[in-house]
Amino acid sequence: MFELRKLPSILRVLHDNLKILPATGGAVEDLQRPDVDEIEDGLANKELTEISAFAEDPDPTGQPLYISTPPIHRIRDHLFRFFIDGSLRTYYIATAIERDRTFPVELAQIGSACIHRLQDGRLTAMSHSNRVLLLVPKGGEGMSEDVFDELTKLNTPDESFQVINTLAKTMHTSATEIDLRTRAGGIARNRMHRLEVNIINSTDGVRGEDSWVILDGAVKLDDFIQVDHLIGVAKSFDKKPQFHIPGSKTRNVDVTGLIAGLPYAHRTRAFQAHGGKVAFWYVRLWEQVHLDYPLMGVLKIELPCPTAQPAPVDLINRLSSALVAERSVTPYGQDKRWHCHLYPIYCAELTIKSRFYAHDVLLGAIRWPRPALATT
């Protein structure tokens, strides 16, 4: 059995050879399962490994990397009015056998909602959408077309129930992914994002210069979201990208190094992604002293730039300051991600999940027909 008294020497080696950012509150138990948001950010930005260009105007080359963005509260500038989130739950319900082919059968609940914040701060559910999906692979090593067609006859006209082929290619899956259950999860996520796009489109006409939308997550959902007055906000993000900061002497730093030095109520400079179609930056919402480790309390913001032009610095500052103010109130005690979870987004999540069937109800509804007894 490992002797704990050997731990200090191990820590000494790390400290002497590496730059260490200790967790402020001591060691923190890591997530039991993968961070879905981080994985999704990685999938959406999988080509984004090297970042070397700014995306703000005027160009900040040679300027400080961090900009002060003190909070601007709703009573002074009610900028963000609509908050959109999507949610899903997937269940593996059976393995099906057809002839000599074996494949998984998955069931998923997906939903999306838009929360509207009134002038006095009260929240109201503006629109929401829920679906139940049956996810099965069609063709190849999956289900026969005949059976799949039989199932699709059960699709509901209002699309509240749909049968989906998990062998379709999406942003979240590749044609070479052989794990069908993983593919099913990816397909479900893709369908959820389609709901989000529908919801975003339903805000046409109400978005404006003083009426922005916050989308939870990246602004690339299979395709780029091209609408105006919308930002994507990620609570958790991919740590792989490397930044080559332009200047008299190019500085190389990774995400962790970039964020570690970010002071409270400050933003980083905005960087280009996807050929300039997206500008992204980071904002710190909370003083580090209150949090367990340095990467907590930081949001990644993505701003669609359909014309691939840099975004005005005033706009970026305004968006960042308004976001810092959004930290109050916080779902502390209700969500482990409270430090970077915007309350209206949290409410949107609750709105969606309140319309899901409870786990026990859904699984209790799955009653496979009993085989007929032999009569002789």
């Binding site: 701060g121 805000t203 069937y357």
Partner: protein, 600 residues
């Protein structure tokens, strides 16, 4: 269905893409009240796994902008056995909570940037006010729990009467409905609170007890209002007599005189409106039918807070030996008598005075009793039968203290004059429709006990045995006699098992109903009064009380949420608990319509 399986028929299908609940760009109206028909819905019933609706209680969330208060009466749609129909459940709001989704106070602290008091929340926490309601009644006697999501409305005036179970009484037997005050809801709706006469004056039950802190609870004012209400609304006012004891200054010595209108016109208008609202006229007691009795003082003036000339028709009452002898035990009610020695002596004296040929044949005055034989000889106490000298001496010492040295002037040591009335003799001639005010404000405690006991005993005898005039003709007494006494704790204190006066009061409390003697009593602390007296009062009226008082067991009939409200009642606000109400209600009542000394 197997365990863990879901009843698919009971599961509501998921909603599809909704059209916006509000038109884009148009915020929902700042007032979130919904109009259903002609009546506003103020919230919806909310039943949860931890807080279910029951036959006795339910909860509902209040729509934003709705203001409600404890003691508001609401109505909610309820089930009905016939399809398509619904019944109505009425309830009384007992308390209101405000809940949010913050799991702890720490969440709120952290939301304000770890304790910054200047921080402004961009999004107020999701929260709502939850009203807790006790069920009062149902229109069809259905006491199923109120289902979740049922719309709730403030009750109408008619609904309030139905809630209290008085609607049928008002409609079919209005003579039995006694206005007892006004119920006012936060919605602005008001209604008269009625008492059922059969539960105030009998035969079902009787007696009224009023308690509350002095000066705040307006006990005396309410008692007078209630008495006037009973008399004005009674179909047989000439069958009801009223005996009132004045224990405080000259408060009740001007009942038959008109009040001075208030100088403030708004307040005067409000006064008139309040009386009109309860359906009564603001008139004083009838001077022709109101009689005053003032106690004799040491000199020419009565021992009262008024001079004789101020109430010209007042009679002076006093006690001499012949008219006190049969009540001596009342005079000694508070004197410790562990071995009943004094009781024995009193018994001997009473027996002796009733014997015209015995040892006491020459004793006809207090002076003779205290200075002459058989109790005293040559200035020295004498044994009385088997009772020792020392005991007789104790008796004499107490008698001298009560009659001579510490008397307020109530006792006549010799014989009464014609001007000095005997209270019991006057009350034996009690007439229905008349009010008799007996002043005891300045008497000593033992004298007050004597007078009160004398009154109770006399009235009890009048009803139980009938009375005769001087010619021996049988007098037809009133059917009901209302007796109002304040500071009941003096005469029937809690914690004491028995005394002549306690026994007297208990007799009235427990059996007076059947005879028609109705006790309307008041005291500061209900816990200070014998529990069998308050327990037999079918109607209890509670004014402001302290937290120590409401924690006593005497208030256990009140729901906990309403108990604490007693500590916050304003002057003139009272809780009314009546035999046929399922829950106590809050009422206000009009200011007195008779002259009040000191009121401008």
């Amino acid at each position: 269905m197997a365990r863990g399986e879901t009843n698919l028929d009971a599961v509501k299908p998921a909603e599809s893409l909704q059209t916006p609940a509000t038109a884009p760009g148009q915020a929902r109206s700042q007032s979130s009240l919904h109009q259903l028909g002609n009546r506003q819905v103020v919230g919806r019933c909310s039943a949860t796994d931890r807080n279910p609706s029951t036959s006795e209680k339910f909860q509902f969330w209040l729509a934003p902008d709705v203001i409600a208060n404890p003691f508001d009466i609401v109505e909610v749609e309820q089930v009905h056995p016939e399809a398509g129909k619904s019944s109505v459940t009425y309830g009384l709001i007992t308390s209101i909570d405000h809940i949010t989704d913050a799991p702890s106070h720490l969440s709120n602290f952290i939301s304000n940037n770890f304790g910054e008091v200047e921080e402004v929340p961009n999004t107020p926490r999701m929260g709502t006010s939850i009203a807790h309601v006790n069920v009062l009644s149902n229109s069809d006697e259905i006491y199923m729990p109120v289902p979740n999501e049922r719309p709730v409305r403030f009750a109408t005036e008619e609904g309030i009467q139905k809630a209290l179970g008085m609607d049928a009484l008002i409609k079919d037997q209005p003579n039995r409905a006694i206005p007892a005050g006004i119920i006012k809801l936060t919605s602005g709706q008001s209604a008269v609170a009625y008492l059922d006469r059969h539960y105030v004056l009998g035969p079902e039950s009787a007696h009224v007890n009023i308690s509350g802190i002095s000066g705040l609870a307006t006990k005396t004012s309410y008692a007078m209002f209630l008495i006037q209400s009973i008399l004005h609304k009674a179909p047989d006012p000439d069958e009801i007599a009223v005996v009132i004891l004045n224990v405080k200054a000259d408060d009740l010595l001007y009942l038959d005189q008109p009040r001075t209108p208030l100088k403030n016109k708004e307040k005067e208008a409000a006064f008139q409106e309040t009386w009109e609202a309860v359906g009564l006229k603001p008139v004083h007691f009838d001077p022709k039918k109101t009689h005053f009795f003032l106690p004799k003082g040491p000199g020419q003036e009565p021992n009262a807070h008024v001079k004789a000339g101020e109430i010209p028709k007042a009679m002076i009452y006093a006690y001499d030996l012949p008219h006190t002898a049969d009540k001596l035990e009342l005079l000694f009610a508070t004197v410790p008598d562990t071995y009943s020695t004094l009781e024995s002596i009193i018994g001997e004296v009473q027996k002796g005075l009733g014997d015209t040929k015995g040892k006491f044949k020459n004793v006809s005055s207090f002076d003779q009793l205290l200075t002459g034989e058989p109790l005293v000889k040559d200035g020295t106490a004498q044994p009385l039968g088997e009772i020792k000298v020392s005991s007789v001496g104790v008796f004499l010492r107490h008698m001298r203290r009560l009659i001579v040295t510490r008397s307020s002037g109530l006792f006549v040591r010799g014989a009464l004059s014609i001007r000095q009335k005997v209270l019991s003799e006057e009350l034996r001639k009690i007439k229905g429709g008349h009010t008799y005010v007996v002043d005891i404000a300045k008497l000593h405690d033992e004298e007050q006990t004597l007078v009160f006991g004398d009154i109770i005993r006399t009235l009890y005898k009048v009803k139980a045995e009938g009375s005769e005039d001087e010619q021996g003709n049988l007098l037809e007494g009133p059917e009901k006699i209302l007796v109002f006494v304040d500071e009941l704790n003096k005469y029937a204190p809690s914690g004491r098992q028995s005394s002549p006066i306690i026994d007297q009061v208990l007799e009235i409390a427990e059996r007076g109903r059947s005879l028609g003697v109705i006790l309307i009593s008041a005291q500061q602390f209900m816990s200070a009064v014998h529990s069998r007296v308050t327990g037999n009062s079918a109607t209890k009226v509670l004014g402001r009380a302290g937290s120590a008082e409401i924690s006593t067991s005497d208030y256990r009939f009140l729901p906990d949420e309403l108990k604490s409200s007693l500590t916050r009642l304003a002057k003139g606000e009272l809780l009314l608990s009546h035999a046929i109400y399922r829950q106590p209600i809050k009422i206000a009542f009009p200011l007195p319509a008779y002259k009040q000394p000191g009121v401008k």
